[in-house]
């Protein structure tokens, strides 16, 4: 190993060549190359982690650039995994990379995670967070968890040397209605940078044994107050008794697969007479304004459960609302009520139709 390269950290009395060798011998899986994953990857790679795995299947979008600082305008539309791999190889040619061009699912999680010593969770949705927890508990792997929302961040190292797990803090996965998920969340660009870097620090400490790992402690960061608060919590032994993954973690993919753009829908509308479109806005909104080119049945989102019989389960169902949020919720509600339905959320809703034609 080129120790000269790492001289500025090996010279540290509490780190030294021994810790550097441990980094070299270690393997770390980073789930998600987004706001958290990018700073974590850049620093883990720079500091000399020998093997780095990356799980990611998204493409780069314009709204990513405000916080995912590795990507450039020229990368828009490209797969994140390709762009990030190219850059990390340039940064450190001695790292061994393993890339997984997929989302983490209950079908691949155990097989992927088993190949690594430690996981850094940089995912952006609850199903993946609970999946990572359960898979790490089953495989007895520690994981460094970071999560952000707005101006705040949370950080902890779970399942480390017999310590508590994510479920010891938050036993059950929140439903989609309880807490905003995925890209509905606002976040100030620099916040994931701070938390992702702290994840890299905790990962290095967990691997090398240097310092005190954030084990059994939850760090709460508030960027507006510039405050860091640490909450202590204990292991609930039942949470380490997990032997297999759940049958379902809900939709593990943040990006909703069952979605359709307004342009695509308009093509379908041109070719077909009968297209089943359900407008899930309120009755008032529906009467007040409906799109002339769309013949929709109005079932407000809170009435779906009681009126599911009005839907034709034999043909695709396109869900519409004003901006695409309630229709997304409608997809999830209907999916739970009847997994056989073919459901599509109309992305951007009525607003997008109007924007397209004005």
């Amino acid at each position: 190993m080129d120790f000269n390269r790492y001289q500025r950290q090996t010279v540290l009395k509490d780190f030294g060549p021994e810790a550097q060798q441990k980094l070299k011998d270690s393997s770390v899986l980073v789930v998600g190359a987004g706001g958290l994953g990018i700073p974590a990857l850049l620093y883990l790679n720079a500091m000399g982690v020998g093997t780095i795995g990356i799980v990611e299947q998204d493409n780069i979008e314009i709204t990513n650039l405000q916080r995912q600082v590795l990507y450039t305008e020229g990368d828009l539309g490209k797969p994140k995994i390709e762009v990030v791999l190219k850059r990390l190889k340039q940064q450190n040619s001695s790292t061994n990379f393993k890339t997984f061009d997929t989302f983490l699912t209950r079908h691949n999680a155990l097989e992927i995670i088993a190949q690594f010593d430690l996981v850094v969770d940089g995912s952006d949705n609850f199903p993946t967070r609970y999946l990572i927890n359960d898979a790490c508990v089953i495989l007895k792997k520690p994981f460094v968890s970071g999560a952000i929302q707005g101006f705040e961040g949370q950080l902890s190292v779970f399942n480390y040397q017999g310590g508590p797990t994510y479920r010891c803090l938050f036993p059950n996965m929140p439903t989609h209605e309880e807490i905003p998920n995925c890209n509905e969340n606002g976040v100030l660009g620099v916040i994931p940078g701070i938390i992702g870097n702290l994840q890299a620090l905790e990962a290095v400490k967990a691997i090398t044994g240097v310092g005190d790992v954030l084990n059994g402690k939850l760090l709460l960061f508030n960027g507006l107050q510039q405050s860091y608060q640490t909450i202590n919590f204990n292991l609930q032994p039942k949470n380490t008794a997990i032997k297999k993954l759940l049958k379902s973690y809900g939709s593990e993919v943040c990006e909703i697969h069952q979605s359709i753009s307004v342009q695509e829908l308009e093509k379908i509308l041109k070719g077909q007479e009968l297209v089943q479109i359900i407008d899930v806005r309120t009755k008032e909104e529906f009467i007040n304004f409906s799109l002339p080119q769309v013949k929709a049945l109005n079932i407000p989102v809170n009435e779906l459960k009681g009126r599911i019989k009005e839907l034709n389960s034999q043909s695709p169902i396109y869900l519409l609302c004003q901006s695409g949020t309630r229709s997304d919720m409608a997809v999830r509600i209907l999916e739970e009520l009847n997994p056989e339905l073919e459901l599509y959320n109309i992305v951007g809703g009525v607003d997008r139709f109007l924007a397209l034609h004005n």
């Binding site: 940089g122 952006d124 929302q149 309880e178 807490i179 994931p192 939850l218 608060q229 919590f233």
Partner: protein, 84 residues
Amino acid sequence: MTILLFGVTKDIIGCATLSMPSSSEFGSKKSKTVKELKEYLGKMYPELKKLSSLAVAVNNSYANDDTIIDNFDEIALIPPVSGG
């Protein structure tokens, strides 16, 4: 009693910290548990009741429903966040 609010609880209640003076209905109660606090807050802010996984910390330690709290304690309401 001071209650620090994180994540979505801040949005629901509409501020970053909530003060419960000992003269208030809840503050003046003699013995109080985390469960009672949650029920009291749930009445005032019904949206809070929807949170199935809400961690409560008392003086920087994770608390259970039966943890006793008094007027000098600092409480934190901590929902999970998922963003990345």
